[in-house]
Symmetry: C2
Subunit: 504 residues, 2 copies
């Protein structure tokens, strides 16, 4: 965290300085803009109690549309995975091309069908021109209008970069710029396109489209509020901003982080409580229907994502009950290569306990070996030995580097079918002791499953041994023991602690 | 988090609405102010590369003064605990009274010794008047000056509420308001007073005094910077703000949270990167000397606070080595009251393992019982029984409520010396089975101490059993097992998971 924090501070200062050098225009567009993409600090300054109801309505709409979005993209993505993309990589390219053609046709064609509106007579002290001068970025786009004093409101959103479209939707002091009809048309088309595009083979984010969708219906609600409360100083742009927050909240279901992001990109701290309220309402409404966008997609990909809290019924369960689905296969310390190969073929377990015998004949669990590490050992073959006896660890040369055991980033890792073993290889032995995790976390068999769940979540575990209840306790560690180990016994602070401890 | 978030949003909206009602002045002072205490959004807008060096200097000063502050308060607090406050509660009251008298005398006396300065000729477009009108809060305090066109710069800081003093120090467009001499005098006096006051028997925060100290030397550095870079548009107030951040960073050693707080109370997002840099420098400098203020004080109070990461030398240690400082005392399931009393008297352990025997004669650890719970059982006496045999849990009435076992908030809890037991009581038995934690977390004896440390930190544990290596593995739990238990086997998502699992 400290490093990330430091890096981002340096980045901000360097970019800022570079922008200062480029201000004269010598670097083209790089001198313009800033860290705050959509500055709304000149917008609505205060809000009224009466406005809370329409804002809550925005939250509800955001929750509903967001939950619907998650559900539709779930269907689309699973359809893509299960049927469309199985037909080969070429299909992915065709799909992306077709969708981009449709998007272009809609973005160009729909504004053409819309009549131009006359420019407003006066735009108070904002520096906004209508229509915008040619070659500039701005509001009030003249798109094939007949006269020079007209603009096309649909083109102002559609036929623009998404950044500028959002800036136009958020803009203050541009009352009645958009007609309800245009906003509804845009909302329907863009929502559909966003659902269809999500999951195609193009790198695309979900943030800016989400803000687009949200700010459209937000501005729509804002138009009605402005018309209803004529006497109050209300801006449509504020509602567009709240709409954006509500859709992101309804779809992604983040609260605090989204709030910080919304404030950072709009630079209006005074709207923070409203953004918070709208986010919470939309998240609550969305949660009533389904999970967040990222959770849904992660589950679809088979990523074992654990929720932050265990389910209530887990309180009634014990650890042993959770592991009855699969039989544990234990490996001896020194094992025949043929046995390893057959065990790896016969099941899909990712980890195996390794058992050894003490001299007195007792069995002892000495660690956990991972499937992926066994596969690496089988492939490299350098650790095969003829003797079925454990080798001496001090005499043993180190034949592997750490990187060999690391899972490659781009492939799915080794597979037992890929490894060719000769019949001589199969007759040899392998000593697993140097390759195992000697102390995986363990839980007693009758521990509550909620406790096990917390252990998994908090420590980010992948495997856990369920063992019999221990027969004796060797020691008891407390926080104070760890503090003694941490500080060394002689430090002054530690001495003071022990005095205060004895007082307590 | 969700609840806190919701509550604060509601609070913000309600306060805002109430402030709107009170704006006419009918509620006195309650209509004024706002959420942003020290608004500096009209201050310096841009910063220059050359400014980074003086800002780094502020960070270093903040780190040094912050670390010194932590060290001095540590000495003061331990002196208070060990000698002054042991003389009784009356001493605490005298101490607080004396310190408040000294503070008052200094705040009133020192500005009197200082000569007044003439008001600046023109203060550009800021609405600041010099001297401030009587009865108003503001800058340029006229404190026993001879003419009406003068102000006393030391009184502007000293003889003011701390909130207003900070506002004056942060203020932009008030160049050369303070003399270096006044700022240095104030810094020395206020720093000393802050050190002396910290830990007295008065409820006092550390935040506003920290901002006061920091903004003083920050403004001092700013004065030199303004004089050095005459052509640049630099404000002294910006440096005061950075100074405040640096002292808080050097003393409290928080980074991200302090950054957010500083931005929230000053409403200037553009200075965020600078605040981040200054905070990091001051934290790094401070960390070279000692720990943060809260950590130092928590250790002094004997609170077993674990650092976020284990020390490096713990990698070489195993769990068993950490618990050799104390011998474990195990209790049988049914134990004589006399034995419980003597065990509790003879040591200070807070938790005891409870051992039972199976029918086949093996021993088995059945749980952990806390010292505090044993004391409650001894005091209430209702669970004493004549027979040394375990009682039948189904026949047993519930004689305790949960609240009996909760530690009282205000006292230090029960003590074995407070409990009176008759000789009849001592001859009786008590069955511990219903009162123990049946599955405390356990670790094998040779687990790496860093792993044990992480377990403690992440789960917030207080006790941990160190047990022998298990002899067999009953089962192995993976994340997927937990997901199956979470979702139920029949859900659609689960089915898709199992298919994708088999593909992988």
């Amino acid at each position: 965290m400290w490093r990330v924090f430091f890096t981002s501070a340096i980045v901000a200062v360097v970019v800022r300085t570079a922008m200062g050098w480029c201000k004269s225009g010598i670097c083209g567009h790089f001198g313009g803009g800033g860290f705050i993409i959509w500055d709304v600090s000149d917008g609505q300054d205060d809000y009224y109690f009466k406005e809370l109801l329409p804002m809550a309505v925005i939250g509800v709409i955001g929750g509903l549309l967001g939950a619907l979005f998650n559900q539709l993209t779930l269907y689309m993505t699973s359809w893509r995975r299960n049927s469309l993309h199985k037909k080969g990589n070429r299909v992915k390219i065709y799909e992306a091309c077709i969708i981009s053609c449709i998007t272009s046709a809609i973005s160009f064609g729909l504004p053409l069908l819309r009549k131009c509106s006359p420019c407003p007579e006066s735009i108070p002290d904002s520096g906004i021109e209508c229509p915008r001068p040619p070659g500039m970025y701005g509001n009030y786009v003249n798109f094939y209008c007949k006269t020079d004093n007209e603009y096309n409101d649909l083109a102002t959103i559609f036929f623009n970069t998404q950044d500028d479209a959002i800036r136009n939707l958020f803009s203050a002091k541009t009352m009645r710029e958009f007609s309800a009809q245009s906003l509804l048309t845009f909302l329907a088309m863009f929502y559909t396109l966003a659902v269809v595009t999500f999951g195609t083979a193009v790198p695309a984010g979900q943030f800016v489209p989400g803000i687009m969708i949200g700010s459209t219906y937000g501005r729509l609600v804002g138009m009605f509020v402005v018309r209803f409360y004529k006497k109050l100083n209300i801006e449509e742009g504020t509602y567009a901003l709240l709409g954006a927050a509500s859709f992101l909240g309804g779809s992604m279901r983040m609260t605090v982080s989204l709030c910080v992001i919304m404030v950072e990109i709009t630079n209006n701290l005074k709207l923070l409580p409203l953004i918070m309220l709208v986010l919470l309402i939309s998240k609550a409404v969305g949660d009533a229907f389904n999970e967040g966008l990222y959770e849904v997609q992660a589950r679809l990909k088979g990523i074992p994502l654990l929720e932050s809290r265990p389910k209530y019924h887990m309180r009634q369960m014990i650890a042993k009950e959770a592991c009855q689905s699969q039989k544990v296969i234990s490996l001896p310390r020194v094992i025949r290569v043929a046995d390893v190969a057959s065990i790896l073929r016969s099941n899909k377990h990712n980890g195996f306990p390794v058992i050894d015998h003490t001299r007195s004949g007792e069995t002892l669990v000495i660690g956990l070996v991972l499937r992926s590490h066994l596969l690496v050992l089988l492939q490299s073959k350098v650790d095969f030995q003829h003797s079925p006896l454990p080798c001496d660890p001090s005499a043993r040369p180190i034949r592997h580097s750490f990187s060999e055991f690391a899972k490659p980033v781009s492939s799915k890792g080794l597979c037992i079918e890929d490894i060719h073993l000769t019949s001589d290889d199969l007759e040899m032995y392998i000593d697993l002791a140097p390759f195992l995790n000697p102390s995986p976390y363990v839980v007693p068999e009758d521990m509550s499953l909620t406790k096990v769940y917390n252990l998994f979540r908090q420590l980010g575990l992948r495997h856990l041994f369920v063992v019999p209840r221990p027969s004796r306790v060797i020691g008891l560690i407390t926080r104070k023991d760890l503090l003694i180990e941490e500080n060394g016994e002689s430090s002054a602070v530690e001495l003071q602690q022990s005095t205060s401890r004895s007082v307590q």
